[in-house]
């Protein structure tokens, strides 16, 4: 079979089993778009801004576990995609991004729409390639997918100069069946000796905590984690990226930890004598002040990326390997042991934890006058809990409220930008999820600031009839910025007020969607029900919420887990009692 470079690009995607690509055409990728036009296997989704192409591919990848693919042109097309690439990089999301490039003879000449995109993206991709010969396309594509999806996943960018895809140059095509690279050999299984050492510590532990992150979700190891939690009766906490690994309804789940984590999760970490960290990377939003992080604990760390181990916190038992096989081996070693985890000690430990839990740190002042954002999320859960439901979010207070108040029972259902914290992520990510699961209910919880960063995608949703449900918690502020300004800048709300807001409901309608505005707490449940009943329509719900509600508990940047600020409401209530 003889194919042109452009056809090879498309055929390679087909051979990789790619169903969807998100993209935006332009001069340098015209040959590829022409090849796309002449086939029926891959569906191309035309976004309205290249940032959305990468976020949508990312959302698709997070929900399915399969690599997301985006295709953009050179220059501004490529630079617009960078935010989405960096977002995927920080959260280790498998993605392949194809960028057009000016023809090879023009590279380096400051040609029209030329930019050194491999140079620009080098620090925010797992790897990138610049293809210089048509003969190299097939192998490079195969390598890109292999690198993106194995080991610690991540985005891989392929820069393709226009002349390399010339329709008049045809060469024999064969897609590599297997890729082997001498310089890249991702680890699978953990070292048996290290796993035995870890189990030694686990059976001796008096006050253990299992702390897990996005790695358990990415590594499809939720089932193994649940078994480990059951086998040990250890308490378990998740990072923002790890939510859903263990069902939130499991009594051993302490909620999220870290800056806006629960009192019980953070106190358990602080008092623990053994931390079992699995697929988590000790991010500063999780650890707080490093010097006071888990002062009494020995630390076991399971991670596929050796560079994550002992990067921020010195680890006692490192285990490098894929989470799934490591947990399987750990469970096996544990079941063969005569000594089991110390039930007596665990009983005492659980009593202390239940004491912290009884504080009910997430309580908020109820109101029948104004919609509390927490209430809006709780109500969302009430209405959607029986559905096949995915929730994406943007970044800020609404993201934290969703993480705290929506109990996720399954992995890959909570889709948000954790590492980079990218405002504008939620809507395009939801498009990717809906595309992957057309029958599922996909909602995006957002803020009036975040949504405006990618609001143009309402047109894409219209074109492809994506029946998303957008829940805009509209408080008129960049809520998290305002919260920090209230707490740390004496209430000087410097540029955090979002003035000149559009009428969001009307705006949604001009894009052909259904718009709603909800102000009264009493109307919320009925509005949600009405919206979620509209199976074939995108419904944009502008929910006006309490403008100055804060997210609690909160650990100030640079403070330890035991130094949480609790909600003033909670403190006042306790004092009265």
């Amino acid at each position: 079979m003889e194919l042109s470079g452009a056809e090879i690009v498309v055929q390679a995607l087909i051979d990789e089993g790619v169903e969807y690509i998100w993209g935006y055409p332009g001069g340098a990728v015209l040959h590829i778009y022409d090849a796309l036009f002449q086939q029926k296997k891959i569906r191309h989704i035309l976004v309205r801004h290249e940032q959305a192409a990468t976020h949508a591919a990312d959302g698709y990848a997070r929900a399915t576990g399969k690599p997301g693919v985006a295709l953009v042109t050179s220059g501004p097309g490529a630079t617009n995609a960078v935010t989405g690439i960096a977002t995927a990089y920080m959260d280790s999301i498998p993605m392949v991004v194809l960028t057009g490039q000016v023809p090879t003879p023009f590279i380096g000449s400051d040609a029209f729409q030329e930019v050194d995109i491999t140079g620009i993206t080098r620090p925010c991709v797992k790897h990138n390639f610049l293809i210089k010969r048509v003969e190299d396309i097939a192998e490079t594509m195969a390598k890109a997918f292999y690198i993106a999806t194995t080991g610690r996943p991540g985005p891989v960018l392929i820069d393709i100069p226009k002349d390399v895809t010339d329709p008049n140059v045809r060469i024999p095509y064969e897609y590599p069946k297997k890729i082997s690279m001498r310089s890249y050999k991702p680890v699978e299984k953990g070292h048996p000796k290290q796993i035995r050492k870890a189990v030694d510590l686990m059976v001796k532990a008096q006050r253990p905590v299992i702390y897990t992150g996005g790695g358990v979700i990415l590594g499809d190891a939720s089932e193994e984690l649940r078994k480990l939690v059951e086998a040990t009766d250890f308490p378990v906490t998740h990072t923002l990226m790890g939510l859903g690994a263990v069902p939130a309804s499991d009594r051993r789940f302490l909620g999220m930890l870290g800056m806006h984590g629960t009192y019980e999760a953070n106190m358990a970490m602080h008092e623990s004598d053994l931390i079992v960290a699995i697929g988590a990377r000790f991010d500063d939003r999780v650890t707080g002040k490093l010097a006071s992080f888990c002062p009494q604990a020995k630390i076991i760390h399971v991670d596929v990326d050796p560079a994550s181990i002992s990067k921020n916190v010195k680890v006692d038992v490192p285990i490098v390997g894929q989470v799934k096989p490591v947990l399987r081996d750990m469970l096996k070693v544990l079941s063969e042991r005569k000594t089991k985890p110390d039930a007596e000690a665990l009983k005492k430990w659980w009593e202390r934890i239940e004491g912290w839990r009884a504080v009910e740190c997430l309580k908020y002042p109820p109101s029948d006058k104004v919609i509390k954002p927490q209430f809006a999320i709780e109500m969302l859960h009430k209405v959607t809990r029986r559905r096949d439901f995915y929730l994406t979010s943007d970044v800020g207070q609404h993201q934290m409220f969703a993480a705290q108040f929506y109990p996720f029972e399954k992995p890959r259902r909570w889709i948000n930008s954790g590492g980079l914290g990218t405002m504008g992520f939620g809507l395009p990510a939801a498009m990717g999820v809906q595309q992957a699961f057309p029958k599922a209910t996909v909602a995006c919880v957002t803020g009036e600031a975040s949504i405006q960063m990618c609001i143009q995608e309402l047109a894409t949703c219209s074109q492809y009839k994506l029946p998303l449900k957008i829940i805009l918690l509209n408080n008129g502020y960049m809520g998290m910025v305002r919260q920090w300004q209230e707490l740390f800048y004496e209430g000087r709300y410097s540029h955090s007020y979002v003035d000149a807001l559009p009428d969001f409901a009307a705006l949604a309608e001009t894009y052909g969607h259904v718009g709603m505005t909800i102000e009264d707490p009493g109307d919320l449940e009925a509005a949600y029900k009405e919206a979620f009943a509209m199976k074939d329509r995108l419904v944009f719900m502008n929910v006006l919420v309490d403008p100055e509600e804060n997210v609690y508990p909160m650990i100030e940047a640079g403070k330890g887990h035991h130094e949480m600020h609790m909600s003033p409401y909670l403190t006042a209530e306790r004092e009265l009692a």
């Binding site: 491999t118 140079g119 620090p123 610049l130 310089s183 050796p306 560079a307 990067k311």
Partner: protein, 163 residues
């Protein structure tokens, strides 16, 4: 602590930029970096000298290993090894100083590789300390220009650090 790290890396365009970029992005110290092809045309050898405490060095080694293009990496400082650096120094060699400079070059087993009426260019190979000592010994004000390669290193013994 000073570490000398030897890296075998795919001879691809951008490979050097990946290493340099890594050091810049993560704020690691880089004292010197040399790179050249090896006996295998598809591979380059990079030798870099860096400084940092144990944790920083551990991270540097891990982050370098994480680069897709890095095939093999060895921290030479962990075992017995030989280090050499090449220096070329252009010095003022006017009447009255020429003899002294020639003697100095002999003492350091250096070669004078270029001569003009007023200057010598001296080539010298050795451990960095030796090169420093030579520069110290050159009469004050005589140095016109110094070019150094940065250190190269190789492990002692019969075993190679190739593929």
């Amino acid at each position: 602590m000073r570490h000398i790290i030897s890296v075998l890396i795919e001879n691809e365009s951008g490979a050097l930029a990946r290493v340099a970029g890594l050091f810049a992005a993560r704020g690691y110290n880089i004292e010197s970096l040399t790179v050249a092809p090896t006996e295998d045309a598809t591979l380059s050898r990079m030798t870099l000298v860096t400084k940092g405490d144990e944790r920083v060095i551990e991270q540097i080694v891990k982050q370098l290993n994480k680069l897709i293009d890095v095939v093999k990496l060895l921290d030479l400082s962990e075992g017995p090894h030989i280090e050499r650096e090449l220096m070329m120094a252009k010095v003022k060699a006017e009447k009255g100083l020429r003899e002294e400079l020639k003697r100095l070059a002999d003492i350091f087993r250096a070669n004078i590789v270029d001569v003009t009426a007023t200057s010598y260019t001296i080539e010298l190979t050795g451990h960095g300390h030796k090169l420093d000592a030579f520069l110290e010994a050159v009469p004050e004000g005589a140095i016109i220009e110094v070019v150094r390669s940065g250190p190269l290193g190789i492990g002692r013994g019969a075993k190679g650090a190739g593929l």
